[in-house]
Point group: C2
Chain length 214, copies 2
DNA sequence: TTGACAACATACCGGGTAGTATGTTCATCA
DNA sequence: TGATGAACATACTACCCGGTATGTTGTCAA
C-alpha cells in the first residue's frame, strides 16, 4: 500500500502497452506486427516492452486475456437473471455487440488468438498458456450456448444443430469487429441502433420458420 | 495450338502452385507464410515458384483472383434468373455457401486479401493490383445486394440499413470458411444440409419482424 | 545524502526470409 | 542432331525482426 502510487503508474504503463499492442495486432496481424511497431506507436523503444513482457507471444497472450476479462465484466450483470431466456439472451447479445464495438482492437486480438490456436501456430510451451485462454473463452461462450438452449426449450428459438446455430450466432454478434468503424458525429444512440440491428438479425436467424421454399 | 500440350502442362503446374499457396495462406496467414513453405508443400523449391510468379505479393494476388474467378462461375447460372427475387436469392446464397465449403483455402485467401486492403498493408505498386481485385470482389457483392434490395421491394425481406444487412448477410454466408471442416463419412447430402441451415439463418435474419421486446 | 531499484533507452547478435544470380535437365523444332 | 529455351534446382545476399546484454535516469526509503 505504501507503494500504491508506484504500482499504479506501472500498471498504467502496462495497460498502455496492451492497448498499443492490440491496435497493432488488429492493423497488421500477429506475425506482421513487430515489437518495434508497438514501441513506435507508444513513442518508446523495445526496452519498455521487454521490461513488462518476457516475449512477443506473452504480450499477445496478455492482450487476449485482457480482452476476455472485460468481456466477462460486460456480461456479469446478466448472470442468473430471472425471467424468459429470450429476454436474457437479448440483453447478453446486445451487451456483447456493444463490447465488440467499444473494444474492437482487443476483440480482434481475441479472434486472432482463436485462429492461431485452431491452426496450431504456437510452440509447445505457449500451447499451455493458449489452452488456458481458449478454455477461458469457451467458458464465456458457454454462457451464451446455455441461454440459447434454454430459449429453444421455451419455444423462442428453433434451430436444428445447436453447434451450427451457436457458430452462426457468434459470427453475427462478433461481426462488428470487422465492419464497424465510427462515423463522425456519431452519437451513442446511433451505435445502440446498430447494435439493435445486429441483435435483431441474429434473433431472426435463430427462429427460422421458413425453409419451405426449397 | 501446336504448343497446346506444353501450355497445358505449364498451366497445370501454375494451378498446383496456387492451390498449395492458398492452403499455406489459410493455415498461417500471409506474412507467416514463406515462399519456402509453399515450395515445401509442393515437394519443390523456390525456383519453381519464382519461375511462375514475380513476387510473393503477386502470388497472393493470383490466388485472390482465382478464388474470385471461381466464385463468379458458381453464381453465373442465376444471373438474370426470372421469378421472385427471394427464390433467386436463395439459389445464389446456397451456391455461395457451397462454394465457401468446397474451396475454403481460396476463400480464406480472399478474406485475407480484403483485410489486408482495408488496413492498407500494401506497397503503392501492389495497391493498384489490389484495387482492381477489390473492385472485382465488389462487383460480385453487388449481385447479391441488388437481389437483396429487390427482395425487399417485393416484401420478402425487411431490414433498415441495406449496408448493415449486406454486411451481416455476407458474414453469415462466408462463415463456413472459419468453422466448417469435413467430417469422416460425410456425404454430399450432409454438406447440403449444412448449407441449407446457413441460408435459412440468413433468410430469417433478413426478414426480422420482432424487435418489439426491446 | 546516498544507495538501490524500477523503468526505461541503446547497442548488438543470430536466425529466418524475400529476392536474385546462376546452374542443370529435358523436350521440342529447325 | 544440335541448338534453344522452358522449367525448374542450387547457392548466395541483404535485410528485418525477436531477443539479450548493457547503459542511463529518475525516484524513494533509510
Amino acid at each position: 500500500m505504501a507503494l500504491g502510487v508506484r504500482e499504479h503508474v506501472a500498471d498504467s504503463s502496462r495497460i498502455d502497452i496492451l492497448r498499443a499492442a492490440a491496435s497493432c495486432f488488429m492493423e497488421r496481424g500477429y506475425t506482421a506486427t513487430s515489437i518495434d511497431d508497438v514501441a513506435r506507436r507508444l513513442g518508446a523503444t523495445k526496452g519498455r516492452i521487454y521490461h513488462h513482457f518476457p516475449s512477443k507471444a506473452d504480450l499477445f497472450a496478455e492482450v487476449f486475456r485482457y480482452g476476455m476479462d472485460i468481456n466477462f465484466e460486460a456480461l456479469a450483470p446478466y448472470r442468473g437473471m430471472a425471467g424468459p431466456a429470450l429476454v436474457r439472451w437479448r440483453r447478453m447479445a446486445k451487451a456483447h455487440v456493444l463490447q465488440m464495438i467499444d473494444t474492437k482492437p482487443f476483440q480482434r486480438a481475441v479472434w486472432l488468438g482463436v485462429e492461431m490456436h485452431l491452426r496450431g501456430a504456437t510452440t509447445p510451451e505457449q500451447r499451455t498458456v493458449f489452452n488456458e485462454l481458449i478454455a477461458y473463452r469457451d467458458r464465456y461462450g458457454a454462457q451464451f450456448r446455455e441461454t440459447l438452449l434454454q430459449a429453444r426449450e421455451e419455444g423462442a428459438f428453433r434451430f436444428d444443430s445447436p453447434s451450427i446455430a451457436s457458430q452462426l450466432m457468434f459470427m453475427t454478434l462478433n461481426s462488428p469487429i470487422f465492419w464497424y468503424s465510427p462515423r463522425t458525429g456519431e452519437t451513442r444512440a446511433d451505435i445502440e441502433a446498430i447494435a439493435d440491428q445486429v441483435v435483431d438479425y441474429a434473433q431472426g436467424g435463430l427462429c427460422k420458420e421458413q425453409g419451405t421454399l426449397k
